[in-house]
Symmetry: C2
Subunit: 336 residues, 2 copies
Amino acid sequence: MPTIKDVARAANCSTATVSRALASPEKVSDATRHRVAQAVAKVGYSLNAAARNLRRSESRTIVVILPNIANPFFSDVISGLESVAHQAGYQVLLGDAGNNPDRVASYFNLVPSNQADGIILLSTEVPMALVRERQADAGFPLVMACEYFDNLSLPTIHIDNEQAAHKATEYLVALGHQRIATITGPARNPICKDRLRGYRHGLADAGLNIQDDWIVEGDFTFHSGYEQGRILLQQDKKRPTAIFCQNDEMAIGVLKAARDAGVVVPEQLSVIGFDDIGFSQYCEPELTTVHQPREAIGRTAMRLLLDILKQRNVPLDQSLKTQLIVRSSTARAPRD
Amino acid sequence: MPTIKDVARAANCSTATVSRALASPEKVSDATRHRVAQAVAKVGYSLNAAARNLRRSESRTIVVILPNIANPFFSDVISGLESVAHQAGYQVLLGDAGNNPDRVASYFNLVPSNQADGIILLSTEVPMALVRERQADAGFPLVMACEYFDNLSLPTIHIDNEQAAHKATEYLVALGHQRIATITGPARNPICKDRLRGYRHGLADAGLNIQDDWIVEGDFTFHSGYEQGRILLQQDKKRPTAIFCQNDEMAIGVLKAARDAGVVVPEQLSVIGFDDIGFSQYCEPELTTVHQPREAIGRTAMRLLLDILKQRNVPLDQSLKTQLIVRSSTARAPRD
DNA sequence: CTGAAAGCGCTTACAG
DNA sequence: CTGAAAGCGCTTACAG
């Protein structure tokens, strides 16, 4: 591999000048810049980033830790993150945590080892000790998006989960539903708690009583939605007439459980999801759901992190708007 | 950040010894190794990877270029890639090409700039000139998976697309279908050509004639499947009784088009997809499709690349098995 | 088993 | 605008 020395020789100048011509062209005369450009092409030079990173002690790389790359929810968030990063000359290293604490630890370690400048965390399913340790360290650039820790304050971009769930529940109530169940995500997850709180308040506002066995826990997969849906629909006389699911995949699982149980959606059962993933328009029936501005979440989170890296003063907590999208999986409550 | 010097001071030895204790512990006495470990903990040292990379001129990073991170097909492939990489002490940098040639160029550039040791390419939607240039350069570690270029020989892991499509078509023929349409992916894509060839042969084998306006092109999205499906189903007397789609998302789009057109699947229309993504079990009806061993493709591709990096002799072309999964979107052809 | 020393390829403060 | 020189933090061949 040709180095900056080879270029300097070919351009008949010092390595310092080559470096300047490449990194800050305005510091160099037109003629020199041109000679250097020619020399670069001639010798087939490309900058050794490891050397630059070492010298500058920065890597221009941001690590994004996500719980599971298979989750379609994240793809737009990632697009948003990447578009802002690339525009600013940063790369994005996508780290799939895959429920593996070691892996997460190794991603975190990329920052002290100078392979990454900062981290965006999209999951709370990571070893708390690790995060706590880093957060104590003020110099560790760490931003959360989509999720957050309820016992730890970190800069974060999110939606108002409670309000969104509240509105979804209200909508079901407005349709005349009185027996409304919910399938939550993992119960310890703060955003799931928020969505559950929104659900409870929605019922309470309407004077409906909350039936604890209609609050069931899933894990955000199709399969868990299917299983919990099946169970909820078994009680065939006083079964729920509506189910609010904390994400779309579980809602789509419920649609299947309903089909298998011979319960017609939306005539006999209304279903609401959360996220508005692409598939929610292609399932049968199309899913009423809470739309999240996923790209914007990604963009905003990356901007926040880059601002932190530049030591800019920035709001550390931003909430973005959601929207209830009404499609065909909800309807007026059936007569008893 | 503490450096190796600080550790050396705390352990009362040279930096050379610290380096050895960390990188090749067997070269160092037990006592020293222990002292170094203590010192590392005491000063809170972590190795500066940029310095190591510069010195060793390797990065232990593999770039995976994919066309679109939102495509659920890739998530298992990525899991496979990552599991092998991490086991071997490599990191994976996921690069979303996003139909942006500049971005792809910058990912390719990671190798000469010493930020990546090799590339796995999961898409042919990249500037040919770039690939051609690199491939000419024998020292450039580049492996393809899932897709391939038909005018360029690169090490590649794939399935037998033609055979898989042939079998799927045969299956429809065996169900008595005589009017079988197909929705392809982008026509210039070699794997799409292969699948199309398999379809043609399947029809030819059965003595069915091939109707050119039943070979329509989509782009692998739900939407294109929906649109093309809608058009195919419009011709209501002699419309096709079966549609073979080159991926599941388009097949799911067709299911929706059929619902909208009042065509009942599978009684009036059989639909087959390709890939066996998770959704294919949660759409209505569940999708008959060609299963690809996605994890295995990923694992095999990463092993191949790592072997190439170690200059091992390896088979440069491996084909993995597919399987037709019969679910509920296919049935015997309706009577005319 | 250990240390002194060179060097990986850059960047940048300093001097002119 | 340009160059000589120091130095970023490691690793490793060499010598002992």
